[in-house]
Subunit: 241 residues, 2 copies
């Protein structure tokens, strides 16, 4: 039972990586909203050619959250509106070499997707080998990334139920129909407009504006997200000394 204390070099060959599952709601060819996520095509073994989650190695001089943001930006050019740690994956056989991956999940506002992509295209620094996929219809991924995405989806759907996290996928101002559509897309089912309205305005997370979106029918009031309330608990509030 008692074990000789190991030398400090015991973990010399364990490396730490950071990956991020980042969701956004994009429109397909029929203008239907689709819960989507970007993947990066691997250009080396293992899993050369396979699609994988964006990520990279943890730098010794940066915190985990920062590493997640940085590697996401480096590989995809995207900056999320919401970022939360998901889980640390560390099975011995999940990669040929010993890698512990700290996985984050993130949300990207729908108006930012195209804006950020376009900006990189203009700047000539468009990320390569990046493609968006329907989150519910993915190709087989590298490593254990299939499991990771599945768990992330479960967590997202769960969290949408008890927090107002869907705002992280919308622009500053939006209608209740927009918000409801995002929720419907995530959950994959229709929600009652009347009851949805009541749920959000008893939750105090929305601030009504005096502006309206005018369309083909009765104008809908625009709302803003109330920044006084947290989007959702993000874990242990990483000791912001």
């Amino acid at each position: 039972m008692t074990r000789t204390p190991a030398p400090e070099t015991r973990d010399a060959d364990v490396r730490v990586a950071v990956s991020t599952v980042i969701f956004s709601v994009r429109r397909d060819e029929h203008d239907e909203p689709v819960l989507s996520l970007p993947l990066v095509r691997r250009t080396r073994d293992p899993f050369d050619g396979r699609w994988a989650l964006p990520g990279g190695w943890l730098d010794a001089t940066e915190g985990l959250d920062v590493a997640a943001s940085r590697t996401l930006a480096e590989t995809t050019g995207l900056t999320p509106s919401y970022l939360e740690q998901l889980y640390a994956f560390g099975a011995v056989d999940r990669s040929p070499t010993r890698v512990v991956s700290i996985v984050y999940w993130a949300l990207l506002r729908s108006d930012e997707v195209d804006a950020q992509v376009a900006a990189h295209a203009r700047g000539g620094d468009a990320p390569e080998n990046v493609e968006w996929f329907d989150a519910t219809d993915l190709p087989p991924l590298a490593f254990d990334h299939d499991d990771i995405v599945e768990y992330t989806l479960w967590r997202l759907r769960n969290k949408v139920g008890y927090s107002r996290i869907a705002h992280g996928l919308l622009p500053d101002e939006f209608t209740l129909a927009d918000l409801r559509e995002v929720n419907e897309t995530i959950l994959g089912k229709r929600l009652d407009p009347a009851n949805f309205r009541r749920q959000v305005d008893t939750s105090d997370t929305l601030i009504p504006t005096e502006r309206f979106r005018t369309g083909s029918h009765r104008p809908a009031r625009l709302y803003r997200y109330n920044r006084d309330v947290e989007l959702a608990d993000r874990g242990p509030l990483p000791t912001r000394h």
Copy 2:
């Protein structure tokens, strides 16, 4: 924006540790139940002499869960009945050297506490520098372990509300009063016996036995935990291939 890809040695000086917050319900001098956890006194710098969470370095040949169990056993001699990953802490300044800690939290059945402690005492391999503390009244801890424990407590109290996880703190057979007492101890408030009974037996997590605990008054039926239902979701079901 674009960054030169780093060499594979970028994270050479990041080490991975595993720590565990393990709870049990112990009796104080007045026989009152107290939510307690064991701490280990550090015998070297940094924080020499301070109390810290049990843990140790991740071995390159073992998974994260296994490492949590092993380091817990090595430092305290305890074997948990429930183990779940909590969070990965990796702020740059949380330790003089760069350490990413994967923190687990665990439960230990009340009948196991003394049994395991006694077994080690007999075997002469009693763990040193280990002491149990009231979880709500801890001394200042080493590193960021104060924050970690606080977050763990929050998570435990939360989870007790929507899952039947308190069974992890009880022996195989127990009365509803036992189970309720554990819940009360965790939550720090009284629960209505009648309503508590209904909650648990609509949840299908308990199997009634034909045995009764006889005491000073009307005998109470003993229940067993229904192993067909999971205690609680433990995260992404670590790909048990």
